[in-house]
């Protein structure tokens, strides 16, 4: 009896949360209806954003968000997985606890502080050292051109990977630590070396969880606002080069929402917020479907 009541209470909370999320999306959609009715799908593929001239196209922001967070995710996956493997499989126990605590601490640094570090330390470094170092590669479009200040997509990618590596590393480490000892011992018993155990036993066992960590990190990178806004250079021009300034969806909201008064302008910014939510949602969904497929294959 009491168990039933408890069950319905938790159900009530879950439904409440669902209703809130739905209302949230509905509200964004309603507030951006002017943009959808006036510009329609052209808003998503428009390359020009010039509020003074009444031109609203969201493509530069969508492009910047996806490129910056994808590159950051690749960097964080490599770095984070390395950290996680070291902490879970290789390091002695005392060191593991100390290092884990430090990694988790880095994840807790407020993003505005990382942004300040970005503008005062990283950006001059990109200008004075990284750009000249990458100059020989300038025949590749990805590294062509440059920004005289160092504010660039590259700076944003570095800041983002610094922010999400601890998340990826912490989640992956916890998953790797959950691999049953018997399984590993059996592999050792069969004559496997440490690398082979990690490669063929631990990682396959923990891959669902690791992917979960990557999705979490990707979500953080897509939505990250403050730190990115401070270093990306906020250019409305889509450039193939990582050394050029760019823009993201979260950054344009942070930059322009407070002073936007014209109604189409405000509605277009809201439309970008809606797109941002939808994109995060789709990426989450894609990640989940991969996990689901793996689970089914394992069965």
């Amino acid at each position: 009896m009491r168990r039933d009541r408890f069950k319905s209470l938790t159900l009530f909370f879950s439904i409440l949360f669902l209703i809130f999320s739905a209302l949230f999306v509905y509200e964004l959609f309603a507030a951006s209806s002017l943009t959808w009715s006036r510009l329609g799908i052209a808003f998503i593929f428009g390359r020009r954003w010039d509020p003074l001239k009444g031109a609203y196209g969201a493509l530069p922001f969508i492009y910047g968000t996806i490129v910056s967070s994808t590159f950051a995710l690749i960097a964080a996956a490599i770095l984070g997985l390395g950290v996680a493997i070291f902490l879970s499989e290789i390091s002695p126990k005392g060191l593991r606890e100390l290092l884990s605590a430090i990694v988790e601490l880095i994840a807790a640094i407020p993003s505005v502080i990382i942004g300040l570090w970005g503008i005062f330390v990283l950006v001059p470094l990109v200008r004075a050292s990284l750009q000249p170092a990458l100059a020989p590669l300038s025949f590749i479009p990805l590294f062509s051109g440059g920004s005289p200040s160092g504010l660039s997509m590259l700076a944003a990618i570095i800041v983002l990977s610094f922010m999400i590596t601890p998340i990826v590393a912490t989640v992956a480490k916890d998953c790797l630590l959950m691999v049953p000892q018997e399984l590993k011992e059996a592999a050792y018993g069969l004559g496997a070396r440490r690398y082979e155990v990690i490669r063929h036993v631990s990682i396959p066992y923990a891959k669902n969880g690791i992917l979960g960590g990557l999705i979490l990190g990707y979500g953080r990178a897509i939505g990250e606002t403050m730190a990115v806004t401070m270093v990306i250079g906020s250019s409305y021009i889509i450039s193939p080069s990582l050394l050029s300034p760019a823009h993201t969806m979260a950054a344009v909201l942070a930059n322009e929402f407070a002073e936007a008064t014209d109604s189409l302008y405000l509605s277009s910014l809201t439309a970008i917020a809606l797109l941002l939510i939808l994109i995060s949602f789709l990426i989450n969904l894609a990640g989940r479907s991969v996990v689901l497929r793996w689970k089914r294959a394992a069965r």
Partner: protein, 378 residues
């Protein structure tokens, strides 16, 4: 197991109770006295009347000044009038005061026609004057850079690309300007600073007016887009100018002063090169005063850039308080307190401007403001 479930249940009920309590408290009308709070109120406030709280919101530029006013006015009225100001941006301020959810708004730019249409009867009250300067970074250069409106427009339009351009050199005779590309910096976020800057360039350059225009954001025109830099906030632009050799950018005067960044002398309408300081900026405001509209007329055409006068600094602007002419949407005591505060802010309150690097209103504009304030409720 049973225990932890019970704990969870109790926790959930507690949370619900708190939420319900909060709703209940917030929904209770403030004027309906509660037995416990009345006793407290009477002991704290002797017969002088009710304590009022005035809510304002808007631009971030005047935030330090309004906070100072709030503090001083609280002391002056012995805690009877509390001013709460939230710097949420001009957009939010205009929206909220138009919808009458707050008592006054603040904006760095006057209302544009479509905004004014949505809020008929909203009065413009200039509260202080701000100025924008061109901060630059020219390593090894002694002396002060001189610029004119044409040259600034041509730089930002991409027609002058190098520091030693002949136009630039003829204006700065005797200075060894380097053969380097000019690194342009502008604001990436929308702001009143950008509005003042583009307002000035639109006033002095027809080409700027046609190809870019005036507003709180603008796009670098044409090819400049690929090399121009954008930074967030006055602090961001100042930081980039300071650390990037051969850069130039526009910032509020305060930021150039506080960060010790050199800024250019600007040629005014009378042909003189003037430095931005308290006097030259106030001169610009005085020069424009006779032509200002009444408080309840449209202000969208108002601009004090490129002002007349030998010693007027040309890139300056008012920052505004916005108040409804008809205050019947708030209770009488509050409306009276608001009017009292406004009167004080535009006269007595002006003495706090200089310490915070705002330029006080010249006497002519104070008079206009008092006239505007006396329209309230009529």
């Amino acid at each position: 197991m049973g225990v932890s479930k019970r704990t969870a249940m109790a926790g959930a009920i507690l949370v619900l109770a708190i939420i319900a309590g909060a709703f209940f408290t917030f929904q209770r009308p403030a004027s309906q006295p509660q037995p416990t709070s009345t006793t407290q109120a009477t002991t704290a406030e002797p017969a002088l009347g009710k304590r009022v709280a005035i809510q304002g919101a808007g631009a971030s530029f005047p935030y330090p000044l309004i906070s100072k006013w709030a503090q001083e006015y609280d002391a002056l009225t012995k805690g009877m009038v509390a001013i709460n100001y939230q710097s949420i941006g001009s957009g939010g301020g205009i929206k909220q005061v138009s919808e009458r959810t707050i008592d006054f708004g603040a904006s760095d730019a006057p209302l544009m026609p479509d905004e004014a249409k949505r809020a008929p009867g909203l009065l413009h009250i200039p509260e202080a004057v701000g100025a924008v300067v061109l901060a630059y970074n020219l390593p090894g250069l002694s002396g002060r850079l001189k610029l004119s409106g044409d040259i600034i427009a041509d730089m930002y339009l991409g027609k002058i690309a190098k520091w030693n351009d002949p136009m630039m050199a003829s204006m700065n005779e005797g200075m060894a300007l380097p053969d380097k590309e000019i690194v342009l910096v502008k604001r990436s976020d929308s702001s009143g600073t950008t509005f003042i800057f583009t307002d000035y360039l639109s006033a002095v350059s027809g080409e700027w007016m046609r190809s870019v225009g005036r507003g709180k954001v603008f796009n670098y025109p044409g090819a400049v887009g690929a090399r121009g830099i954008q930074a967030k906030g006055n602090e961001g632009v100042t930081a980039i100018v300071k650390q990037t050799p051969y850069a130039i950018g526009y910032v509020e005067l305060t930021y150039a002063l506080q960060n010790n960044v050199p800024y250019a002398l600007i040629k005014n309408k009378a042909g003189r090169f003037v430095e931005a300081n308290f006097e030259t900026i106030a001169n610009a405001a005085s020069a424009a005063a006779p032509k200002l509209p009444k408080g309840d007329e449209p202000w969208d055409k108002v601009s004090i850039v490129d002002a007349e006068g030998e010693a007027s600094y040309p890139i300056s602007s008012f920052t505004y308080l916005l108040v409804h002419k008809d205050l019947s949407y708030m209770d009488k005591g509050k409306a009276q307190a608001l009017v009292g505060f406004l009167r004080w802010a535009v006269t007595e309150g002006q003495k706090y401007c200089k310490d915070l690097y705002y330029v006080p209103l010249p006497a002519e504009v104070q008079r206009l403001d008092l006239e505007t304030i006396s329209m309230i409720g009529k």
